[in-house]
């Protein structure tokens, strides 16, 4: 039986465990990492962790909105692979006419953004207008995109032309003032996302839709349009993440982006967003992403625990995060 009355004093003094939990976990990981390996806090390693977090992180910001509005998207990993493949094909095909230079890079970027937007709109259309379960729709499109990229690559790997790759590389490896581009883009996406979620009408409509779509409908919230926007936005962000990802390896294959969707969902949940919708926070998602990639990093830097156990540790963290959420809810 949940209690109707809580003392104001006990709530005011400290933020709840659902707020503190992820932050404490992150701080603990940083301390453990620093103690285990002196290089952990070095600029090179920090940059490495953040840059690798950027892909999942950019996608996870979009996933936060989808989940907050009561949806789910399992297709983002395959979508990223497909967009990467498409981008490489388009750029390679345009090479003879455009040559190596800025225009062809812009063409590739535009392709990625447009493909992401269209893919997101397709998911959103099937889910909102046709009213099919989000789980089913995105399970379907997940299979479709994965299969398409395998087909495009003919079972192998799609590689960017060598000259193009050299020209495009700085987008992943360079930056401003020593901060690489993926980190800058990730930071911008996070700041924009946080403002959108906590301060904007759209964010409020997402939370209302996920909390109770009937109430939202009766309160003049266009439930379908809100949901459609969240999927379209996620698709665009997958495009952005792919733009950052392609210069890293310069190739795409059937194994590109595998399990990204689950990592993104895990980061969102660890960050305190409620899986069934109604409440989301973007900054929490960032902490979730950092926790996941830091565990990976620490296991790789030390030989205390086998890196092969990475998945197991991440799994425990996810379950713990949900237990913390539930306790916070029982108290509130």
């Amino acid at each position: 039986m949940a209690m109707d009355t809580t003392t104001p004093a006990s709530r005011r003094s400290l933020p709840s465990m659902s707020v503190l939990g992820p932050i404490i976990a992150l701080v603990a990981l940083v301390v453990i990492g620093a103690l285990l390996n002196p290089n952990f806090l070095g600029a090179a390693n920090i940059t490495n962790v953040l840059a690798r977090s950027a892909f999942i992180g950019i996608i996870a910001v979009g996933t936060t909105f989808v989940i907050t509005a009561g949806g789910l998207d399992l297709s983002v990993g395959s979508m990223a692979a497909f967009i990467a493949g498409l981008m490489i094909l388009v750029m390679n095909a345009a090479l003879p006419t455009l040559g190596v230079g800025v225009p062809i890079i812009l063409l590739g970027m535009a392709t990625a953004l447009a493909a992401g937007l269209i893919a997101g709109l397709i998911n959103g259309f099937l889910i909102t207008t046709l009213g099919i379960e989000a789980f089913i729709v995105t399970l379907g499109t997940m299979g479709i995109y994965r299969s398409l990229v395998t087909w495009l690559a003919d079972g192998g790997t799609l590689s960017l032309d060598f000259g193009l790759r050299t020209f495009y590389r700085p987008v992943y490896f360079d930056g401003i003032l020593g901060i690489s581009w993926p980190i800058i883009v990730f930071a911008l996406v996070v700041i924009g996302g946080e403002i959108l979620m906590s301060r904007s009408r759209f964010g409020r409509h997402c939370a209302a839709t996920g909390s109770n779509e009937h109430v939202a409908h009766y309160s003049n919230v266009n439930v379908n349009r809100t949901r459609l926007f969240t999927y379209a936005m996620l698709g665009m962000l997958v495009g952005v993440a792919t733009i950052m990802y392609v210069p890293r390896l310069g190739s795409a294959s059937a194994s590109t982006g595998v399990l990204w969707e689950l990592e993104a969902i895990a980061a969102v949940i660890i960050g305190g967003t409620v899986l069934k919708g109604g409440f989301g926070r973007v900054w929490g998602t960032v902490i979730g992403v950092l926790i996941l990639s830091m565990i990976d990093n620490i296991l790789n830097l030390t030989d205390l625990v086998s890196p092969y156990l990475n998945g197991a540790i991440q799994g425990v963290i996810i379950v713990l995060a949900v237990i913390l959420q539930r306790e916070a809810k029982a108290k509130g």
Partner: protein, 505 residues
């Protein structure tokens, strides 16, 4: 009537944290007696019932079953002792069928397998006793609220309860269904069951109860035979002041009132057809009718909340088209839902978010001005007398009356010129009702036009300047002035001489 009590509370208190919500309750339930427990929302009725049924332990005091002190460690132990409670929010598994629900947890078996034939037979028998014509194989999710209530009662019958506790059993029933329920209550009373129920409808209390206990602010303020207290007496004891002027005075009709809304040929497929009426500025128009007569659906169709067509629609003298809720709001037409918990408020969220949700554009086109929202909440709390323990508490934890006030404050953020309120006082206490009635009348006096949809006859009669009665999706009668009586409304609602059975389509 002077049988020894089956179940008795002696000096029971209950605290949540440091807050004591029940102060030394004494209450006894006797075999063959119907006991009504009345009081405003938040008076402690629900907590008292939950302690009786074993849902919650008492903090101090004793619970005596057949003069033996008992502690129910779980709901199950209470049921074992023959105490059955029917909740206001039903306790049915929505995806299971009626039959599966009635035998849930006590399935009949023949060897290893379920004895479906026997369960089916008995389910039919129980349903027949409550005159509920649903098929035992129907999933509960497809039943109307009133049918769910009847299934709950059938379930209690099947458990041979010695003590039956019902939390507002008639809130969702039509008058006919209430009659059926009372028949069953009388039969169970004759069979020696002790029955406790709560209701906000004092007429029903006077009709069926043998004894009445009135609670106020966590204490029992009156207990005695029902014959010894009048309805006015009950109301006064509940509120602690005189409430004879529950409804505000109706002003004389203006000689040539402006027409705020003109509706012709409103069709809501499957629910209502050919609805046409005029609504004047400054008046309260009541819409009466049985549950399922299409009142709510017609109004939702009018406000763009569900698919509907109109032949002609004029708002403030100008033609208007409404396809979605935003169109209605743009024309100053706003609908306040009958279901504050499922359609009205986000129960997980706080008051500020709920208050501004419908009129969010007012607080910023893209980014929301949270300081302005806080100011709006200050104003709403003051104007609507919303009493919340904490400003940031979840709306789900507010009492029903305060939720309803918040919902009113929320729709008023849209500054409607035409306000449609559906069941504005369902399940809330008499003091809050009085406040809401006064508020609606004040809105009309400002020149706004108000439509009140209500199943409570007294409310429609007490509040409305004119009344439309709906029956089977059509307007069956239009009443004015002295014609507005319980008798004429019932005649039109039932269709004179026609069958009185009307079910949700």
């Amino acid at each position: 009537m002077s049988a020894a009590p089956i179940l008795r509370l002696a000096g029971v208190t209950r605290s949540f944290g440091p807050v004591e919500v029940l102060h030394g309750i004494d209450l006894d339930l006797r075999a063959g007696e119907v006991h009504a427990l009345i009081g405003e929302n938040g008076a402690g009725k629900s907590t008292t019932m939950k302690i009786l049924a074993g849902y919650q332990p008492a903090t101090r005091g004793r619970i005596l079953l057949d003069d033996q002190e008992v502690t129910f460690r779980s709901l199950h132990e209470g049921e074992e002792a023959g105490i059955v409670m029917i909740h206001q929010e039903f306790n049915l598994a929505e995806q299971l069928t009626v039959e599966q629900n009635i035998f849930l947890g006590r399935e009949l078996r023949r060897g290893w397998l379920l004895d479906k034939a026997e369960m089916r037979k008995r389910t039919r028998a129980y349903l027949d006793r409550v005159k509920c014509p649903v098929d035992p194989d129907t999933p509960v999710s497809r039943l109307s609220n009133s049918d769910k209530q009847m299934v709950e009662i059938a379930k209690a019958l099947s458990r041979d309860a010695r003590v039956l506790i019902m939390d507002e059993p008639t809130a969702v029933l039509t008058n006919t269904e209430t009659r059926v329920l009372f028949e069953q209550v009388r039969a169970m009373r004759a069979a020696g069951t002790a029955i406790l129920f709560t209701s906000h409808k004092l007429g029903e209390v006077a009709e069926i109860a043998d004894r009445v206990t009135v609670m106020r602010d966590g204490s029992v303020v009156h207990t005695g035979p029902a014959s010894a207290i009048s309805e006015d007496g009950m109301a006064s004891a509940m509120v602690g002041r005189d409430v004879s002027d529950l409804y505000p005075a109706k002003p004389a009709a203006a000689p040539e009132p402006a027409i705020a809304l003109r509706v012709r040929g409103l069709d809501v497929p499957g629910h209502a057809e050919a609805i046409g009426f005029d609504l004047h500025a400054g008046e309260i128009l009541g819409i009466a009718g049985l549950i399922g007569s299409g009142r709510t659906e017609a109004m939702e169709g009018l406000c763009g909340l569900r698919p509907a067509t109109t032949r002609a629609l004029e708002i403030g003298g100008k033609p208007a088209t409404i396809r979605r809720p935003s169109d209605a709001l743009a024309h100053g037409l706003c609908y306040l839902t009958e279901d504050r918990k499922l359609r009205g408020l986000l129960l997980e969220k706080g008051m500020r978010v709920n208050l501004t949700l419908q009129a969010l554009a007012k607080f910023g086109r893209v980014l929301i001005d949270q300081a302005a929202e806080e100011r709006a909440l200050d104003t709403a709390i003051r104007e609507f007398d919303i009493r919340a323990g904490r400003r940031d508490m979840r709306v789900g934890n507010l009492s029903g009356g305060n939720q309803q006030k918040l919902l009113l404050a929320k729709v008023m953020q849209s500054e409607p010129r035409i306000l449609v309120v559906d069941e504005p006082t369902r399940g809330i206490d008499i003091g809050t009702k009085q406040q809401i009635y006064a508020f609606l009348r004040a809105l009309a006096a400002e020149g706004r036009a108000i439509i009140v949809v209500s199943s409570e006859m007294q409310e429609v009669i007490g509040l409305s300047d004119r009344v439309l009665v709906m029956r089977r999706g059509r307007i069956a009668g239009r009443l004015e002035g002295a014609e507005i009586t319980e008798d004429t409304i019932v005649r039109h609602a039932m269709g004179v001489g026609a069958s009185s059975q009307e079910r949700v389509a």
